[in-house]
Structure formats: structure tokens, C-alpha cells
């Protein structure tokens, strides 16, 4: 009898740990919708989605990386470096299409270096990507001297200003990427292998998975999404600026972990990441709607990251005690 109650409690806790983020998100949305008339409008919903496009794109890739048990703090550095290469090439009068291609090539180089260093050389992911972040940011200053640039080109104008069904094309791109990410991660052999590598490396190796290649690929996927994020951000803001993506990695990691992806790897979902991203977006949005000053905004953001890590720790503890 007593045992039965215990399992009952267990499963309730499990349900909360698994779906807690959705309850929290729903709760916050309801509270804000009730208390703030400016929150509960369609425009505000599209504002929030537009504001999280960068976080969202990066979050998809970060989910892949964290699933393998790794971490990538170089995302902001890759974004700004890829963006700066675009800017100097277009200043030199090169064709826009080619320059956009170069955004992806530059990001890809970073992804290959990160992935290779982590998967094949065995360097610690945090330090590798910290190093490549510095390199990326440094190189962007070498290329542009720190100046900012506007009038980026026709496709930026298109990506920044076009609306489909009354909703910015940026949001459609982000949702499409989430759909692709969902498919890759949850519906393909590749996705299963990715989860297996992060879950139990030895078991994955024994079952014949090329774990190095899988781990390396996660960093490459991440880097390509950095290229997309840079492209979208520059289009949305109408300019390249040298602080682009500065410190963004922490909010992205927080969104992914809040979304239920375990920092120790092996478990996580793309839908969770979308929910975590929107949660962070809504909190940032509400802080502004309620005219909250700079100091408390920082406190709130710190608290979000703290709660994310706390949530992860509780979950890990639950896992090991089972």
C-alpha cells in the first residue's frame, strides 16, 4: 500500500518535471492576459514571436549540442563574425547572393572547428567554444574596425519587412526551422543517435554509432543556425552592429534548459525549447510592458537562469535516485 502511494507521488512529480515548463508558461500567460490589456492582443503575440526569432533559431541548434552532453558558448561570436564578413564583402562591391553564401561558409568553418576539437581531439566544449567566441568577435573587429553598417541589401530588406498573412516572414522562418528541427530530432535515425550519444556514450559506441561524427555534426548544425540568426537579426534591425549577439549564449542556453533539455545530455525536446524560448520572450516583453527599470530587468533575467539550472538539478537528482 505504502509502496503504491510512493509510486503515485513519483509519477505526479515526474509529470511535473516533464511537463512543468508548459504549466509554468500557461500560468504566466494567463496571469499576464488577465492583468495587462496590452499583453492580450494579437499584435503583442506577434511582437513576442518576432522578438525571440534570434533566440529561437539558436535554441534549436543549442538543443542538438546540449543533447550530446556538450555546450556552445561561441554562438554570438559566430554570428557577429559571419555578419562582419558579409559587410566587408558587400562594401567591396561583391554580389549579395555570394556574400550571403559566405555568411554560411564562415559559420560552417567555426562549426567544423568546434565540432572537430570537441569530438575528435576531446577538448572540453565550454573552453573550445569560449575560445572560438573570442576569435569570432575579434575577427569581426578586424574586419569592420567596430563600425556599424546599414543599407545591407535587397534580401535583407525583404526578410526584414515582408509579412505573410499579416505576420512577419521572420516568424515563419523560425517556425519552419523548429519544424525541421523537430523532424530531424524526433523522427529520424540521426535524431535517435544524437540522443543516444548524450545519454550513454558507451552503449552508443557498442551499438556501432559513430559517436564522434554525431557529436561533431551537432556543432555544425549549431553554427549554420548562427548564420541564419545573423542574417535574420541584421534584416530585422536593418543594420550590422559590432555588439550583435553579445552575451546571447546564456539566454539561449537558459531557454533550452528551461525547455527540459538536460545539461548532462541525452534528454530533451525541440517543442520544449520552443516553449522555453517563448517563456523568456514573454518575460522580457512583460518587463517592458510594465515599465520595469534596468536594474530589476537584470535581476529578473538572473532569476530565470537560476531557476532553469535549479530545475535541471532537481530533475537530475530525481533521475539518479530512481
Amino acid at each position: 500500500m505504502a509502496v503504491k502511494t510512493k509510486t503515485g507521488e513519483h509519477s505526479a512529480r515526474d509529470v511535473f518535471l516533464k511537463y512543468g515548463i508548459y504549466f509554468i508558461l500557461l500560468f504566466i500567460v494567463i496571469v499576464l492576459a488577465v492583468t495587462s490589456p496590452s499583453f492580450r492582443t494579437v499584435t503583442n503575440l506577434t511582437n513576442v514571436l518576432l522578438q525571440v526569432t534570434t533566440y529561437g533559431c539558436l535554441g534549436i541548434g543549442m538543443t542538438f549540442v546540449i543533447l550530446t552532453g556538450g555546450i556552445d558558448v561561441s554562438v554570438g561570436g559566430i554570428m557577429v563574425c559571419a555578419g562582419s564578413v558579409y559587410v566587408i564583402l558587400s562594401q567591396a562591391g561583391m554580389a549579395e547572393g555570394l556574400n550571403i553564401f559566405m555568411i554560411f561558409i564562415v559559420a560552417l568553418i567555426f562549426g567544423v572547428v568546434n565540432g572537430y576539437a570537441v569530438a575528435y581531439i576531446g577538448m572540453p566544449p565550454f573552453l573550445v567554444t569560449l575560445a572560438t567566441q573570442c576569435i569570432g568577435r575579434g575577427m569581426s573587429l578586424v574586419f569592420t574596425g567596430g563600425a556599424s553598417y546599414r543599407d545591407l541589401g535587397a534580401t535583407f530588406e525583404f526578410l526584414g519587412k515582408t509579412k505573410l498573412l499579416g505576420i512577419s516572414i521572420q516568424i515563419w522562418v523560425m517556425l519552419l526551422l523548429f519544424a525541421v528541427g523537430y523532424f530531424l530530432l524526433h523522427k529520424t535515425v540521426y535524431g535517435r543517435k544524437l540522443t543516444a550519444v548524450g545519454g550513454n556514450l558507451n552503449a552508443a559506441r557498442v551499438s556501432g554509432i559513430n559517436d564522434r561524427l554525431i557529436t561533431c555534426s551537432a556543432y555544425i548544425v549549431m553554427s549554420l543556425l548562427c548564420a541564419v540568426a545573423a542574417y535574420l537579426t541584421m534584416a530585422r534591425l536593418g543594420s550590422y552592429y559590432s555588439a550583435m549577439g553579445d552575451g546571447i549564449e546564456f539566454m539561449v542556453i537558459a531557454a533550452v534548459v528551461i525547455g527540459g533539455t538536460s545539461m548532462s545530455g541525452g534528454s530533451g525536446t525541440i517543442i520544449g525549447t520552443l516553449a522555453g524560448t517563448i517563456l523568456i520572450g514573454i518575460i522580457n516583453n512583460a518587463l517592458n510592458l510594465f515599465h520595469v527599470g534596468a536594474e530589476w530587468q537584470d535581476v529578473a533575467k538572473g532569476a530565470i537562469i537560476f531557476l532553469a539550472v535549479l530545475f535541471d538539478a532537481i530533475k537530475n537528482k530525481a533521475k539518479t535516485s530512481d
Binding site: 495587462s36 496590452s38 492582443t41 499584435t43 503583442n44 511582437n47 518576432l50 522578438q51 534570434t54 572547428v113 572537430y116 576539437a117 575528435y120 581531439i121 577538448m123 575560445a131 572560438t132 573570442c134 576569435i135 568577435r137 575579434g138 575577427m139 573587429l141 578586424v142 574596425g145 567596430g146 563600425a147 556599424s148 546599414r150 526584414g160 519587412k161 512577419s168 537579426t233 530585422r236 534591425l237 536593418g238 543594420s239 552592429y241 559590432s242 555588439a243 550583435m244 553579445d246 522580457n284 516583453n285 517592458n288 510592458l289 510594465f290 515599465h291 527599470g293 534596468a294 536594474e295 530587468q297
Partner: protein, 353 residues
């Protein structure tokens, strides 16, 4: 065996990347030294102000157009005055700047222009410069301790205050009375001196001139945050009819694009135009003013600041000023409107694109 080869290859790749990054770190000095070599003739021509004395221009960062122009102008003007100039960028890191200062002292420079990363963190470095007997002028920001010839900065409180005055003046042109103004203030980073002082000046102006600030939102000098804050503020208060940006270098494009997204972007004079006044006066904002999308900007006196920093050093080296005079050379902003947007004494019209 194969593994070893792979490992060796990997290490080579990393070494190559490290090499590039080191090159990246030193390239700014490399570049300026090259330029110095090119300008060799000019240097000998500039004998009258100290021959080829070594001048270090040490910037806290080059991350926005204003500070970039300011630093470049100090470098260029230094060369015009006959100095052998080396340019340093601390990338906003106090530690980096402290070790750069150590290096500069050790390499026997004759004079230093220092744009400190942080007033407290750089005080020790300034005192080390004092101990070494090298004259130093401060650019853009001050330090809490240590002696210098002169502090050459924009009067940031005045930049904010002038912004408030311009909001009222431009709103009147738009037919909006002071008491009907509902203003969004986009603040800089409040932990930075310029961010705090501009906000102080602006809020003081609002109080004295009698208009309402409906929302003061932080941007941390980040374009993306400025974009998001503009969307949110207009969502919360759709009757906002004026926006003050504490820096146009990082905010002008994002505010314009956010208004465009909300279909609220109208030219000056049109019904429903939201009055926009900014601080800095970057080339981008001058273009917006000419195009009629932004009303006015309080232009930072970048050139006067940079030239002042070099001139005070020359005076100290010539014995005209004491090395520890601590002169406060605070310079007021110049207002840019559609009337004077072509003025070529504005720093924003002197940026090579």
C-alpha cells in the same frame, strides 16, 4: 595510428586559429605602425611640436562609430602633430587595458591619450603612468584617482538635457504642445557613466520643461534590445508621440525598423509622425535627418575631444601645462537638424564609409 594523425591534424588546425586570433589582437597596432611609416614625411614636417615623440592612443573600445571616429581622429591628429602614434583597443576589458598600460610604460612612450574602460578599475593604471612621469590626457571618460593633464569629454548631462529641449522644439514644429507630449526614453547602459548621465540630463530636462516620460526602458547599448523595447513600449502605450534615444549609433536603425514593423513610420510634418531625438550624431542618423525620419540629434563633439586630448599633451610636453593639472575640458553637443545636416564640421560627416 590513424587516430594520432587525426589528433595531430586537429592540433594544427587549432594552432592555425590561435595564430589568426593573435594576429587579430595585434593587428590594430600593426596597422597604425604601417600608417605611421607611410606618413613619415609628415612626421619630419611636424618637428615643431616634438619631433617623433611616441604617443599611445589607448581606447576602451572601438565598438561604435562615435568612439571609433574619436579614436581614429586622435590617431590621425596625433600624426599631423608629428607624433609616432600607436593605437590600442582594450575591447571594453579593464584587465586588457591595464596590461596594455603596463606595456606602454615599459616601452618608453612619451605621452598617452587614455580612454579608460572604467573609472575605478583604471585608476591604478593612471597612477602607474604618473609614477613613470609620462603625461596623460583622458578621453571620453574619467578616472576616480590619479593625475592627468586634461579630461576631454562630451558633457553627457548636457547631451541629455539638450535632447529634452529638442524633443519640445521638434514637437512644436509637429504641432504637439509640451503638455501633450508622451515620451519613450530609450536609455543606454545605466552602469556606464554616459548612459547614466544622459538619462539624468534628459529626465531633468523633462521635469523643467514640463513633459511626461511614459516609459524609460533599458537597452544596454544593444540594437536588438532597443528594437524590442520600442515594440513593447508602443504596445503598452500606443499614444507615445516622441522617442528619445540615448545613442543613435546603436538605436537609430532599430527604432526606425521597429516603427516600420508597426506601420508607424511617418516623415516629419506628416500626421502621426513620432518625434525622434537622439544623442551621438552618427553618419546614419544624419542621413535619417536628411530623409525626414528623425527630427534632431545632439552630436557629440568627437573631433574637438580627440584634438583636445592631443593638444593638451603637446602643451604638457612643451611645459605650458602641468602634467597633473586635471583640467576639465567638457564639451557641449552640437544640435543637428535638417537645417545644418550638411555641415562638414560635424564628426558624422567626416566618417569614411
Amino acid at each position: 595510428m590513424k587516430k594520432k594523425v587525426m589528433k595531430a591534424m586537429g592540433i594544427l588546425v587549432m594552432a592555425a586559429m590561435l595564430g589568426t586570433s593573435l594576429a587579430a589582437c595585434s593587428s590594430s597596432d600593426g596597422e597604425s605602425q604601417e600608417k605611421t611609416a607611410e606618413n613619415g614625411e609628415e612626421q619630419s614636417a611636424g618637428e615643431e611640436s616634438g619631433g617623433s615623440k611616441k604617443l599611445a592612443v589607448m581606447m576602451h573600445s572601438v565598438a561604435d562609430d562615435f568612439i571609433y571616429c574619436c579614436g581614429k581622429r586622435a590617431e590621425e591628429y596625433g600624426k599631423e602633430q608629428g607624433y609616432d602614434v600607436t593605437f590600442y583597443d582594450a575591447d571594453n576589458e579593464a584587465d586588457t587595458q591595464a596590461s596594455q598600460v603596463d606595456d606602454v610604460i615599459a616601452s618608453g612612450f612619451d605621452a598617452i591619450v587614455l580612454a579608460p574602460v572604467d573609472a575605478d578599475a583604471m585608476s591604478d593604471s593612471v597612477m602607474k603612468i604618473n609614477d613613470a612621469g609620462i603625461p596623460v590626457t583622458l578621453l571620453d571618460r574619467t578616472v576616480t584617482e590619479g593625475a592627468y593633464v586634461a579630461l576631454n569629454q562630451a558633457n553627457n548631462v548636457e547631451c541629455g538635457y539638450e535632447g529634452a529641449k529638442q524633443i519640445v522644439e521638434q514637437a512644436e514644429k509637429q504641432g504637439i504642445a509640451v503638455e501633450d507630449l508622451k515620451v519613450l526614453e530609450l536609455q543606454g547602459m545605466l552602469s556606464s557613466t554616459s548612459g547614466r548621465e544622459r538619462s539624468e540630463g534628459f529626465q531633468q530636462g523633462a521635469e523643467e520643461l514640463g513633459f511626461t516620460i511614459v516609459s524609460s526602458l533599458p537597452t544596454d547599448w544593444e540594437s536588438e534590445k532597443a528594437y524590442n523595447a520600442t515594440l513593447d513600449a508602443l504596445q503598452a502605450d500606443p499614444d507615445i508621440n516622441a522617442i528619445f534615444c540615448a545613442s543613435d549609433g546603436v538605436m537609430a536603425d532599430s527604432v526606425i525598423n521597429a516603427l516600420d514593423q508597426l506601420q508607424l513610420l511617418k516623415n516629419t510634418g506628416e500626421e502621426g509622425h513620432i518625434v525622434i531625438v537622439t544623442v551621438d550624431g552618427t553618419p546614419g542618423v544624419i542621413q535619417y535627418i536628411k530623409d525626414g525620419q528623425i527630427d534632431a540629434a545632439c552630436s557629440q563633439p568627437a573631433y574637438a575631444m580627440a584634438e583636445g586630448a592631443v593638444d593638451y599633451l603637446t602643451k604638457a610636453l612643451d611645459g605650458e601645462e602641468e602634467a597633473d593639472a586635471c583640467i576639465d575640458n567638457s564639451l557641449n553637443p552640437t544640435t543637428i537638424t535638417a537645417d545644418n545636416a550638411d555641415d562638414d564640421t560635424l564628426w558624422g560627416n567626416n566618417v569614411e564609409s
